[in-house]
């Protein structure tokens, strides 16, 4: 069984290699191959899962060492995999949801000329993410981490002919680099502290080092997680990443990429357990982001960007839970899995809506679509109920546990974190209800299709005739079936995991688990969660369900306008980082030009001048050459004699 682990990564990697190198020959069949290999990876994962379930809880972890990657004295890095319950969870999520998104993309990308390449990138994305969660050491994890960064860059900028997509891809890549620096510094610190970066030795000896070092490593890991998981202050790329094709958004938000940060923190649990300050920082980042994302989600009219804000917020919940320590790790992962189902479903639903609406993304130009797209409506609706935490559905079980754990943190911190989490739940209910009402209810606010020349944001591949009214229709089966399957997960996963603490027990050997003891009863917290959810839904209904919705967004309050601009994140980055950076580079360039170049050019000029003068000695006359030789010999003799005399 151990030997199967490498195949998990190898299957999609092979797909990427074949599809990207195969050339036009594979244009007809490439998408089937990509989907098949993603599915194969899922089947292998399922086989390994079945095998794992059959074993005792403590000896479920598998290990496979392929070869020594960097065999240097005192610096050993292996290509080796570790498959424990935590990795297993991710493997099933990545390959399962990933395969569904592959299937969906067959229909969604049908008219795109570069579909084969798209599937190659998707496979690469899966392979990198699987490598990330299967690595048994931080260096290999870093490899996967960077691979995810690369694949996301390629996919976000897939429609590279659109300047906005190219910019968004670049932005995602650059912001991620900041986080990557954190991870690389953390790995270096680990190496200087422990002399290794394998999970086993590092995580089992965290107690031997100082708390200060653990805090430093923890904070660097947090920085890394902020980059990949789009947490404040490195959240700015996520909204722009919507420039990618919608299946990519689903993949990034549900199965790969943004979950990597949560994985990193939970995987490094022992480091954070030994560094309470770093843990506190994690919870603060999570709490801030969950409000930040939720507020942004309320103001966006672009359906994908509203969902992007929602992702940011939901990942904030996970990070918050991961920062709570052993009382929260399992819930962070549980929310991650349930979120994987409903967020993938919501994104695929959004894609389906756009598919039927001439690729319009402005929700103010939707309305009343439930009749025209019943399957999308139902599956999207179930995802909606799951994310707002409707009792009995997935989100309810996982989010409620996180809120409980936040309160259980204890003291003032516990009250603040719990309060923020509750507030977040209310806002979640509000903005998701808003999305639901604007899209599927109310009267039709459809607009004629824009002129593609004037609106370069239109996704290509679909015939858009300027001025034509949209004809909403249900999407093809390759798109609806994945949505249906994901909806089933959105409905049932929470109950399956949550009832009887099944998921917690499954993960306990890896992440440990402590029962949190909130200052108020669990029942009270659950009631409060449901209550704020109802409040959020009600407010949204009053605002958007009872009144006609204007097609052009009203000016709105100061907060609304700020939230539309992603709470001024880009303005902040521009003023502080870009301008500051420009000033810094300008002064450095000045020093470089005057001082460094002056010295360098001066040296070069003097050497060149010397060369020109020496060259004149070479005048072409044999007699001069003979004189030179004669003189040289005289000097040689004199020097030899002089040496002896001295």
């Amino acid at each position: 069984m151990d030997n199967l682990i490498a195949l998990l990564v190898a299957a999609p990697l092979l797909g990427a290699a074949v599809l990207l190198c195969g050339g036009r020959r594979l244009d007809k069949t490439g998408h089937w191959l990509g989907t098949l290999l993603a599915g194969l990876s899922f089947v292998i994962g399922a086989v390994l899962f079945a095998d794992m379930v059959g074993k005792g809880a403590e000896d479920r972890a598998l290990h496979q060492r392929l070869f020594s990657w960097v065999p240097v004295e005192g610096f050993q890095a292996d290509i080796a995999f570790q498959l424990d319950q935590l990795s297993m969870t991710f493997v099933l999520l990545i390959t399962g949801v990933g395969t569904l998104i592959h299937v969906y993309s067959i229909g969604y990308m049908e008219h795109d000329e570069r579909r084969r390449r798209f599937f190659g990138y998707l496979n690469l994305f899966l392979a990198a993410m699987l490598l990330l969660v299967l690595a048994d050491n931080y260096l290999l994890l870093y490899f996967g981490w960077e691979g995810v960064g690369l694949a996301s860059y390629l996919l976000i900028g897939f429609w590279q002919h659109k300047p906005s997509a190219a910019t968004a891809a670049k932005k995602a890549f650059l912001v991620n680099r900041v986080g990557d620096m954190g991870l690389s510094i953390a790995i270096m610190l680990m190496f200087t502290t422990f002399g290794t970066f394998a999970f086993g030795p590092v995580l089992s000896s965290t107690g031997e080092s100082s708390e200060g070092m653990m805090t430093a490593i923890g904070l660097m890991l947090l920085l890394a997680a902020c980059g990949k998981s789009a947490q404040v202050p490195l959240q700015s790329w996520l909204g722009d990443a919507m420039e990618g094709p919608t299946p990519v958004s689903a993949l990034i938000h549900a199965a790969t990429m943004v979950t990597a940060g949560v994985y990193l923190i939970v995987r490094s649990a022992d480091i954070f357990n030994a560094a309470p300050d770093a843990q506190l920082a994690v919870t603060v980042v999570g709490a801030v982001t969950l409000l930040f994302g939720a507020i942004v989600g309320c103001a966006k009219d672009d359906i994908k960007k509203a969902l992007a804000g929602s992702t940011m917020s939901q990942i904030g919940y996970m990070i918050l839970a991961a920062g709570l320590g052993p009382i929260g790790y399992a819930f962070a992962i549980m929310h991650l899995v349930t979120h994987g189902f409903f967020k993938a479903g919501l994104f695929l639903g959004a894609g389906s809506v756009m598919h039927g609406m001439n690729d319009e993304v402005d929700m103010r130009k939707y309305g009343g679509l439930r009749k025209y797209m019943p399957v999308t409506f139902v599956t999207f609706g179930l995802g909606y109920l799951a994310i707002i935490g409707f009792p009995g559905l997935s989100g309810f079980f996982s989010k409620d546990k996180i809120i409980e754990a936040a309160f259980a943190k204890g003291g003032t911190e516990g009250w603040i974190l719990g309060g923020v989490a509750l507030l977040g739940a209310a806002i979640t209910a509000y903005y998701m209800t808003r999305v639901m009402l604007l899209t599927f209810f109310g009267e039709k606010r459809w607009q004629p299709a824009p002129d593609p020349d004037k609106a370069p944001g239109v996704e290509p591949g679909i015939e858009v005739h300027p001025g034509e009214m949209p004809h909403p229709h249900e999407s093809p089966r390759s798109m609806t079936i994945p949505m249906i399957l994901l909806a089933v997960g959105s409905v049932g996963a929470g109950a399956f995991f949550g009832i009887g603490d099944r998921f917690v027990k499954w993960l306990e050997p890896v992440t440990k688990f402590e029962h949190g003891h909130p200052p108020i009863g669990a029942a009270a917290i659950t009631s409060a969660t449901v209550a704020v959810m109802v409040i959020g839904v009600t407010v949204a209904y009053l605002q958007y369900g009872r009144r006609p919705v204007p097609v052009v967004a009203p000016r709105g309050s100061l907060l609304t306008r700020a939230a539309r601009r992603d709470l001024l994140q880009d303005d902040f980055n521009h003023i502080v980082l870009v301008r500051g950076g420009e000033h810094l580079t300008r002064s450095l360039v000045y020093v470089d030009h005057t001082l460094v170049d002056g010295v360098v050019n001066g040296t070069a000029a003097s050497v060149g001048g010397l060369s020109g003068r020496l060259r004149k000695l070479q005048n072409g006359y044999a007699r001069s050459y003979a004189v030179s030789m004669f003189g040289g010999t005289a000097v040689l003799i004199a020097a030899t004699l002089l040496m002896r005399a001295v």
Partner: protein, 553 residues
């Protein structure tokens, strides 16, 4: 076996004729151990006969075949001797004390032979120039003796004459070069020097294009070579006066003070250190002239530029190997007792050679002159390894020579390909944009330039690293600093050519790149392969050079 055991004043091979002719002792010659030299000399004589008796039509093919066969056979003999342990355990001095058969000698002879084989391929190239009067032409004059531009020259060209004499000349030169690093007494050293120098003077004069320049180069080379030979010979005389012998081992013993017996005829001079030092300086000068060290380098650019390019490549590579071999043997075998005297002097020579070569190269505009100055700078780097005065110093120089020869021959072979109506287009401005028109040739040349510059993953880096490491370990750290600075200066003009080739707009009337026959193609391929192999996996060859780094005494 060693001459010091007998300690005659002058060893018998050279004085036999001076004694009463009652009985001439037959010299004892180890034919097998000398077989590489004998094969080449024999082939050279045979080659002269071919020149005399084989019909003109078949001469070219016979000569190419004979030359390559002889060089390959000689190389096989070297390999055989090395496999037989003559490079290590069985190393000794053959031919009555005249010639050493040891590791460095075999390694250097092997290098010379390999370099000669690939160089001879460029001699044999006949496809670069268009067919002339229905005859294929090579790089050499139709009739070297004809006055340039004369009616006689035109007639010779029309009749399809070719100077196939270059092959026997090359073979004689190779034979001299083989003996040069193995010479174990000063007279053999001198004879070997003349045996390889004279054919080279001639070879320089036989260019088919720009004949006046070629002849001027040959005359300059000959004059200055004769001048330096005079110094060398004078130095030999002084050393004989000092030691009463021309044998390396005996001189070394006198330097050490381990020989007390004084030849009555030389009682006035023997043991006089002034003679030793002046004689040493003059012999050293003769060798430094051949390696092209500053200030004895001035012939190099003129001769490299004027000589037919295949000859330049052959000369630049093989002469340097032979001369450095002789220099090493002189310093390590004859004068180890004088290390404290010669090291400071050589420091000075190495420094001015490295800096001089690199600095003057910057303002060169002709690719052949550029490569000439580059070869001067490389002589300086090699001197840094010589100065290390350690076994690693020897092995690093051996390795460097092997690496450098192939880069040089390859680079000059590429130069023969870039041509316009006037023959080779050697002015640098003509090379602008070559990378656009002929990416392969430009890329290959770039590999050679990077190797010259010592960029990692090429043999140039491995070699330079080895000599600098040896020099630093041998206590010449300051020399290494100068070496690195010179390398930085040198990198400028190598990279400049690459920039010129790849990042400049091609000129409208730019040169074309001739498609070579298999000969030149083989030379260039060998150059690239050796450059990359020695750059990527140098360890085997460094070990080989390390095993071959012990001189026999």
């Amino acid at each position: 076996m060693s001459a010091s055991a007998v300690a005659p004043a002058v060893h018998s091979l050279w004085t036999a004729a001076a004694e009463p002719l009652t009985k001439i002792p037959a010299p004892h010659i180890e034919y097998v151990q000398l077989s590489p030299v004998l094969i080449v000399v024999g082939a050279a004589v045979l080659s002269v006969l071919v020149e005399a008796f084989v019909p003109r039509k078949r001469r070219y093919h016979s000569q190419v075949f004979l030359t390559v066969l002889a060089l390959v056979a000689a190389f096989a003999a070297i390999v055989g001797l090395a496999a037989g342990g003559y490079g290590s355990t069985k190393a000794h001095i053959a031919a009555m004390g005249a010639v050493a058969v040891d590791g460095p000698a075999l390694f250097l002879q092997g290098t010379i032979l390999l370099a000669s084989i690939v160089a001879v391929f460029t001699f044999a190239e006949r496809r670069l120039d268009p067919v002339h009067h229905g005859h294929k032409v090579d790089s050499f004059a139709a009739e070297a003796a004809a006055v340039p531009g004369s009616e006689q020259e035109r007639a010779a060209a029309k009749a399809g004459f070719t100077t196939t004499e270059v092959f026997p000349l090359a073979l004689f030169a190779v034979a001299g070069m083989l003996v040069f690093p193995a010479a174990n007494d000063l007279l053999t050293l001198f004879i070997a020097l003349e045996v390889f120098s004279l054919p080279l003077y001639l070879l320089c004069a036989v260019a088919r294009r720009r004949r006046l320049m070629s002849q001027e180069a040959a005359v300059k080379y000959f004059l200055l070579g004769a001048f330096s030979s005079a110094f060398l010979l004078f130095g030999i005389a002084l050393l004989y006066g000092y030691a009463g012998s021309v044998s390396y081992a005996t001189i070394a013993d006198v330097v050490d003070g381990s020989v007390a017996a004084v030849d009555p005829a030389l009682a006035q001079t023997m043991g006089n250190d002034v003679l030793l030092l002046i004689g040493f300086a003059m012999v050293l000068m003769g060798l430094l002239f051949k390696v092209g060290a500053v200030p004895f380098h001035m012939w190099t650019p003129d001769v490299y530029q004027g000589a037919p390019t295949p000859v330049t490549g052959f000369m630049a590579a093989a002469t340097k190997v032979a001369a450095f071999g002789a220099l090493l043997r002189l310093l390590y075998v004859v004068l180890p007792g004088l290390t404290w005297d010669w090291r400071p002097v050589m420091w000075g020579v190495a420094i001015v050679t490295m800096l001089g070569g690199a600095i003057v190269a910057i303002t060169q505009t002709d690719i052949k002159r550029l490569l000439a100055y580059s070869s001067i700078a490389h002589a300086g780097f090699l001197l840094a390894g010589v100065i290390a005065a350690t076994p690693t110093g020897i092995s690093s120089v051996l390795f460097y020579l092997g690496a450098y020869s192939f880069v040089t021959i390859g680079a000059f072979a590429v130069v023969t390909l870039v041509r316009d109506a006037g023959g080779e287009a050697t002015h640098l401005s003509k090379w602008a944009g070559l990378g656009r028109r002929s990416p392969l040739v430009a890329a290959v040349f770039a590999v050679f330039l990077l190797a010259f510059a010592g960029i990692p993953l090429t043999s140039g880096f491995s070699g330079k690293f080895a000599v600098f490491k040896a020099a630093a370990e041998g206590g010449a750290g300051a020399l290494v600093v100068v070496g690195v600075v010179s390398s930085a200066i040198a990198a400028f003009f190598y990279i400049r050519v690459i920039v010129l080739m790849f990042f400049s707009e091609p000129k409208a009337d730019g040169p074309t790149v001739a498609v070579p026959s298999a000969f030149t193609a083989a030379t260039i391929t060998a150059g690239v392969v050796v450059t990359l192999v020695l750059g990527l996996a140098p360890q085997y060859f460094l070990d080989l050079a390390g095993q071959a780094s012990v001189f026999v005494r």
